[in-house]
């Protein structure tokens, strides 16, 4: 089932990607082709198996709750595009 322009616009908004009209139509066609290939997933019988989210075999890695040195405020803010005092400065969240 091909992606509609509405699907592409919806996904782009979910991902917070501002796309041009040209990008939306190009990526839409390319994603259609890739998703068509993905139907090969259905060639594999997965009824007897569970999902693999990670292959590390580790479960619940614990450590003692001990405070340790971490980034200073100055170093954490050093890459900020805009700051005000000890804060990151951003535009209005609500209109």
């Amino acid at each position: 089932m091909p992606l509609t322009p509405e699907d592409i616009a919806h996904v782009a908004m979910l991902a917070r990607l501002g796309l041009s009209d040209e990008e939306r139509s190009r990526y839409g066609a390319q994603l259609d082709a890739v998703l068509e290939h993905m139907t090969r997933l259905n060639d594999v019988d997965t009824s007897p198996v569970g999902e693999t989210a990670q292959v590390g075999e580790l479960v619940n890695v614990w450590r003692e709750d001990i405070s340790q040195p971490s980034l200073s405020v100055e170093r954490a803010l050093a890459n900020a595009p805009a700051r005000e005092g000890d804060f990151f400065r951003v535009g209005a969240i609500q209109e």
Partner: protein, 490 residues
């Protein structure tokens, strides 16, 4: 004596017998970068001042106690530009990280620094390590040192080309679906992706966290083993790093392969394999047999679904990981009064086409209504793929096959995303199962290098290196060098 195009082991020996100093190695590395990198494009950010200080420090360590110094002490290295080194610009090949200076150093890099490494710079790569040709770098493409009209592979193309062009004897890259092994194959060097969990990912800019792994490029398997020994091991700062003890690979290298059972997965010898690649790999199989290994055909029936599995799981993880590039705490920001518009403008203009495609694909696969059909299904196929490898390893000790179905291809030859994704069809199943894999040179086709891939069970990294080393020592393909190295020696 020139060390351009030389090995880590040769540099380490000469540093100890007084044949060369760290400063001299650095001077040679810099001369080669300045001579050839304008046409290769491997180094994004050189770090010559830092390297000078590190060379002086290494010199002092080697003079005070040469026996205690690591084999990497005083030897130049280049780092893929997704690995954080405090205070040195780190772009991940993306405009969105332009101007970003990491406030800390990642664990693998720190372990090299502790060993006395001399870092000459950060290497070019596909944006956020997404690609198979390094053409997705937002800065410039990398060109193959064997033929500058062709790609070096990717995504760690800069790290592979830097070694192949003789700029450094070794480098670090990262491998999520083949991004170390495939460029190693296309550039005629050795590349090693360790078992998932062996090398800490702390300080690695994340692409797909369940698949990413850091590893070395070098001219020999022994050099890769030396680097692996230095960077592998548990790190409490990466909760997926394994606490199990790391086997000494140097010991294993000496063991040879007589009596070993090697599996040949027949799905990996399908029609997509170029005739020249097939020829070189089949010849390599005969060599391994001649050395006393037994070859057994094995089947990995779900190989055909691995590409689809990977291109659901990796983009899904990337769409989540790359949410952090929001223009607020670091990197680029397209200023706007309203926050939402700032997000859209920053991410829309900061990311390149392939990154945007993968974020879209991953977001779609995770979105309501499609999650079960794509993401959950892919995770189940991942289980099947891992179980098929495990079943094969009950019969054989390791698997051998081609690394890349093709030799290096011309720039701009694969504009269609799916044709580019097919580059990794022989490497990405290894990441899905978390296995160690080596690629090493096994011949030439049309004047371009061909790579042989050795795959071992989880945590049998030393065994993968052992098979690769035995083949390499028996054939000598590791002594071939790109024309850019030969020209330096002339």
């Amino acid at each position: 004596m020139s060390f351009t195009g030389g090995t880590v082991a040769a540099s380490a020996a000469a540093l100890r017998d007084g044949g060369v100093s760290p400063q001299e190695l650095l001077t040679e590395a810099r001369a080669q970068v300045e001579r050839v990198d304008a046409e290769v494009g491997a180094v994004l950010t050189p770090t010559w001042e830092l390297a000078e200080r590190q060379a002086a420090d290494a010199q002092r360590r080697l003079r005070e106690d040469p026996g205690a110094a690591s084999p990497l002490c005083g030897v130049p290295v280049a780092l893929k530009d997704v690995l954080c080194l405090e205070g040195v610009a780190c772009t991940a090949g993306s405009r969105i990280l332009e101007g970003f200076h990491p406030p800390y150093t990642g664990t693998a890099v720190q372990r090299l620094l502790d060993a006395g490494a001399v870092v000459i710079g950060k290497t070019n790569c596909d944006e956020f390590a997404m690609g198979s040709s390094t053409e997705n770098s937002a800065y410039r493409p990398v060109r193959n040192p064997w033929d500058r009209s062709r790609v070096p592979g990717g995504s760690s193309g800069g790290s592979a080309a830097a070694v192949a062009a003789g700029m450094v004897p070794y480098s670090l890259g990262t491998d999520t679906g083949g991004s170390i092994r495939q460029p190693a194959a296309l550039c005629g060097v050795v590349g090693f992706k360790p078992t998932y969990g062996r090398v800490s990912r702390y300080g690695l800019i994340a692409f797909a966290s369940s698949l990413d792994q850091i590893g070395p490029f070098a001219h020999t398997v022994e050099d890769c083993a030396l680097v692996y020994s230095a960077i592998a091991g548990h790190d409490p700062r990466d909760s997926t790093s394994s606490p199990t003890a790391v086997e000494d690979p140097m010991e294993a290298l000496r063991a040879g392969i007589a009596g070993m059972r090697l599996g040949v997965p027949h799905e990996y010898f399908g029609e997509g394999l170029e005739p020249g690649v097939r020829l070189a790999v089949e010849e390599a199989l005969r060599v391994l047999e001649g050395m006393g290994a037994t070859l057994d055909e094995v089947s990995l029936p779900s190989t055909g679904a691995a590409l689809s599995t990977y291109y659901i799981i990796a983009p899904a993880e990337c769409s989540s990981n790359l949410a952090r590039y929001d223009g607020i705490r670091f990197g680029m920001r397209k200023e706007h009064d309203a926050l939402l518009q700032m997000y859209l403008d920053t991410r829309g203009s900061g990311f390149g086409a392939e990154v945007k495609r993968r974020i879209m694909l991953g977001t779609y696969a995770l979105s309501s209504g499609y999650y079960d059909a794509y993401y959950r299904k892919a995770q189940k196929v991942r289980t099947v793929i891992a179980e098929e490898f495990a079943a094969a390893f009950e019969r054989v000790d390791a698997l051998v096959c081609a690394t890349s179905p093709t030799v290096a291809f011309p720039l701009a030859a694969r504009e269609d995303p799916l044709s580019m994704y097919l580059c990794d069809v022989l490497t990405l199943p290894v990441n899905l199962a978390g296995l160690p894999g080596v690629s090493l040179p096994c011949g030439m086709a049309d004047g371009l290098p061909v790579g042989l891939q050795v795959i071992a069970p989880r945590f049998q990294d030393a065994r993968a290196l052992r098979v690769a080393h035995a083949y390499e020592q028996a054939t000598g393909w590791h002594r071939t060098r790109s024309p850019l190295v030969a020209a330096a020696a002339a």
